[in-house]
């Protein structure tokens, strides 16, 4: 990284060639989140599979993001961190893990990492709900918080047609 560049090499690498970018056609869970401050929007799709030991794991994961370099890089990073993990493990991914594995983010961009972890939590919440599985209290509370924020962001974008109704 050049000393005065805004972003680290890892951030720029993922921005250039984001991993797991795109849509999963019939996902098991979708997480849609938005940031009311900057206006970034992130959608995360997951496919869930039962492992041999009976645990549920994230078998496939893809993202779509309307946002800055940091938002795209953090989106890509969380898909890498979550892929293959059990749902419990995936929920434990902290925003700090993302920032750390990106080699850091500029201070005004730290909120982008929260968008990524929120999107993953929402996708897992969606999966639990659709499959009528018990939802941990902490996840329910988190969902309520994210939902409120998303409503304000959706209001802003209500005139934008979305590609697919999912």
């Amino acid at each position: 990284m050049k000393p005065y560049s805004l972003y680290t090499n890892e951030v720029m690498k993922l921005f250039k060639n984001p991993h797991n970018m795109g849509i999963i056609k019939d996902p098991d869970g979708i997480g849609k989140v938005g940031n009311p401050l900057c206006g970034d929007v992130m959608w995360l799709y997951i496919k869930v599979k039962k492992r041999k030991d009976g645990k549920l794991i994230i078998n496939d994961i893809k993202f779509q993001t309307f946002g800055c370099v940091a938002a795209i890089a953090t989106s890509s990073k969380i898909t890498d961190l979550a892929k293959g993990k059990t749902l419990e493990e995936a929920l434990k991914i902290d925003r700090k893990d993302i920032v750390k594995s990106l080699g850091g983010l500029p201070v005004p961009k730290i909120h982008c990492s929260l968008l990524a972890t929120d999107a993953l939590a929402e996708a897992i919440y969606d999966y639990y709900t659709k499959n009528k599985l018990p939802i941990p209290d902490s996840l329910s509370k988190r969902h309520e918080r994210i939902k409120k924020v998303l409503e304000s962001v959706e209001e802003r974008y209500e005139h934008v047609e979305l590609e697919e109704k999912v």
Partner: protein, 387 residues
Amino acid sequence: MKKVYMDYGATTPTDPRVLKAMEPYFLKYYGNSMSVHSWGVKAKEALEESRERVASLMNAKAKEVVFTSSATESDNFALKGIAFANKNKGKHIIVSSIEHHAVLEPAEWLKKQGFEVTILPVDEYGLIDLNKLENVIRNDTVLVSIIFGNNEIGVIQDIKGIGKICREKGVYFHSDATQAFGKVPIDVKKMNIDLLTVNAHKMYGPKGVGGLYMRDGIEIEPLIHGGGHEFGLRSSTVNVAGIVGFAKAVEIQKKEMNSDAKKQIKFRDGMIKEISKIPDSRLNGHATKRLPNTVNFSFSYIEGESLIMQLDMKGIAASTGSACSTESLEPSHVLLAIGLKHEEAHGSLRLTLGKYTKKEEVNYVLKVLPGVVKKLRKISPFKRKWK
């Protein structure tokens, strides 16, 4: 990799002729313009010759121009200096909603000092309505400040019309011409401008040099007090070399401005035509009342900082009004003022041309841009009509 600089609105390279004119004032004629010995006299001569040259490009008298360190300083000087010197006449100031922060922030600060500020809205092209201006001028209004050519969308106001109204109403009229000076003709007398902010580094002069024209006889307080330089209006040892550079840049632009503008307008309009072909794009600002070098577009469904970085990876320098490119996470106030929705401001791109811009550079940008927009739209969850 090909490198194309299309951010002349941020700053310009220094013209080699300017640099050459400046050099002796670092190495040989380094005297302080306030000294009475021959070194000082030589510096003073250069300073006063430069003042005449800079004044001549706006049809002002030499003594009406005070040199400063930047356009930001000149804007601060104009607003605060006029407000404080005239506070017994009134404490009301009018600025437009698309002023540079160098005008908006001093206006905000003056509010805290007990002044009243009216922010005049603009239409969808960024133009102020002269009738509206006339209506908001009050008996206690002392200053109207309207940007000459906007730094983001390039819109050029009806300066003559504004000047006429202000003169009739007996209100000082300041215009920030940072982007316009040296690019379009300015005549402070014909346009009834009382104060004009200019600077060197947007017109191929050095950074760190600005100027404020103030009509003979106006009442203004200095910002910087000290040794009494610049007619007692702006103390500080005078940056003679920088000012000589500014004057040289003015001399060059005086000769070359018209041909530069003609060439850039051709490039600009060609670019506008081509970029408009990108689906879900819109031109920001006015089609013709526009700085010769400024192109500004919004692309739906993508974000500006990502766009800038993608272009940077292709060797192109540009800028954006996206919220993501600022510390505050607020999108450009100019784009919001012309009625853009939040995400339209989010996806904005400013390309600013200069006298060194070549046709092949324009073509390169036009070749690269659609692909970059398409790539980012693929990443975005919003609808993609362009498929």
